[in-house]
């Protein structure tokens, strides 16, 4: 018996496997998965290879070679954990005075966030500026953000959460958002299935995730759809809970890139002036659009994944894609809970999702198609 925790689930004609040790997912042939299971059960390489040789009608030496290779690859790994940088900065002297203190109100909770300087402010505040309430001193949760010796530190309610180097700002921002969502919904990290790099829209009854590489119109589509009767549940950071596997709203604003302004200004004239942040030192032009969702408690079941691709002058096409294609695109861009129960829930949840590829250039047609998708009319 091999003491390695794994999960297996057949989806379409392949087996999707999960290895606990490194929170790794595999897509393999069902027969290969059977070989792995037998190896785990303690069957000998010889025994497995004989069965395989008969089944495939190939010489035994060839199947022995394969089984040995699989055994080596998946069960004889160098298990020495890479010595993760254990940031031993718990004794760092926390600043006493912060230049910026902001109070954000989400539902009925007030978050006090202290930023040491403008730089720290710039990494977080623009996304949450629409939640600011002035003149308050009572709060439920306290976050502190400061840079010291080339590391950015995050404390939540006086507890050290982590520190990140300047190349890992997106991980700092991700952790900040994760702490934020945990406090909003009173759920620990282990109670979340995953966080997806997507846009989430809803029609009030169900939600869909929009995925795709940067520059393919996720946020622009979200802004357009929220002006056409849909609700923006989340942009960029989409949490899904473990309990019911529902998409949770996240109160961050929608980031709007400069080249989308022409399309969006007629609908959102406030973008003209409102959210261009003057972070002079960063020389960064980013505008933020407030989500139209006011209920940050909202959570809805996910009806499907839509991989969107904006291509200039392309005719609109929306086709169902294989789960394997969808999985390939989804997993490397997501944080997925390393807990076994959650990994099982994730595989079960994913196997039931409808997955589409949407290519478009015309926004009206895109909105029409999404409307039909929500109504199951495609």
């Amino acid at each position: 018996m091999k003491k390695i925790t794994t999960l297996y689930k057949i989806i379409e004609d392949k087996t999707f496997a999960w290895f606990k040790d490194n929170n790794e997912y595999l897509v393999l042939e069902n027969t290969t998965a059977d070989v792995l299971k037998k190896l785990q059960d303690g069957k000998s390489v010889q025994q497995i290879a004989i069965v395989l040789s008969k089944k495939l009608n190939v010489p035994l030496d060839k199947t022995i070679e394969l089984v040995l290779e699989l055994d080596k690859k998946f069960f004889k790994k160098n298990t020495s954990k890479n010595s993760e940088l254990d940031n031993n900065h718990k004794d760092i002297k926390r600043p006493e005075n912060f230049e910026f203190i902001k109070y954000y109100k989400v539902n009925n909770s007030v978050f006090k966030v202290s930023y040491l300087n403008e730089k720290e402010l710039s990494f977080v505040h623009p996304k949450f500026a629409h939640l600011v309430i002035e003149g308050l001193t009572a709060f439920h949760n306290e976050f502190e953000v400061f840079i010291d010796q080339n590391l950015i530190f995050l404390y939540v309610n006086n507890i050290f959460i982590g520190s990140w180097g300047n190349k890992d700002i997106h991980y700092f921002q991700g952790k900040f958002s994760m702490e934020f969502i945990q406090k909003i919904h009173q759920k620990e990290e282990s109670e979340w299935l995953g966080v997806f790099h997507a846009s989430a829209i809803s029609n009030g009854k169900k939600a869909m995730l929009f995925l795709g590489d940067s520059g393919n119109g996720k946020s622009t589509s979200l802004a357009l759809l929220q002006a056409n009767g849909f609700t923006c549940l989340a942009d960029d950071f989409v949490p899904v809970d473990a309990d019911k596997q529902e998409i949770y709203s996240f109160p961050a604003a929608i980031s709007i890139k400069k080249n989308s302004l022409k399309t969006l200004l007629p609908i959102y004239p406030e973008l003209e002036t409102s959210a261009e942040y003057n972070f002079v030192r960063l020389n960064k032009i980013v505008r933020y659009l407030k989500p139209n969702n006011n209920d940050f408690f909202a959570h809805l079941p996910c009806d499907g994944l839509v991989f969107i691709k904006y291509t200039k002058d392309a005719e609109l096409s929306c086709t169902e894609i294989s789960k394997i294609d969808a999985f390939k695109q989804l997993v490397p861009d997501s944080w997925l809970s390393p807990k076994k129960e959650n990994a099982q829930l994730f595989l079960d949840w994913f196997s039931k999702l409808n997955c589409y590829q949407l290519s478009y250039s015309n926004n009206e047609k895109m909105i029409e198609t999404i409307t039909k998708l929500f109504k199951n009319e495609l």
Binding site: L28, F123, F327
Partner: protein, 55 residues
């Protein structure tokens, strides 16, 4: 000389089918050794292009 070499490489239809047969057998084996490994992100992250890159 060149022609001769080419001629030597010609095989009959029957031989070709046999060869393909053998090859496809191993193709099934190759398929079993072909898999996708996917690693989720190690931690929650925002888009890399979110405001501020580095400090």
């Amino acid at each position: 000389m060149e022609n001769k070499t080419l001629n030597n490489q010609e095989i009959t239809r029957k031989e070709a089918i046999q060869k393909i047969g053998n090859y496809s057998k191993y193709a099934a084996l190759t398929a079993l050794g072909t898999y996708l490994i996917l690693n989720p992100l190690k931690a929650q992250a925002s888009s890399p292009e979110a405001p501020g890159i580095g400090f």
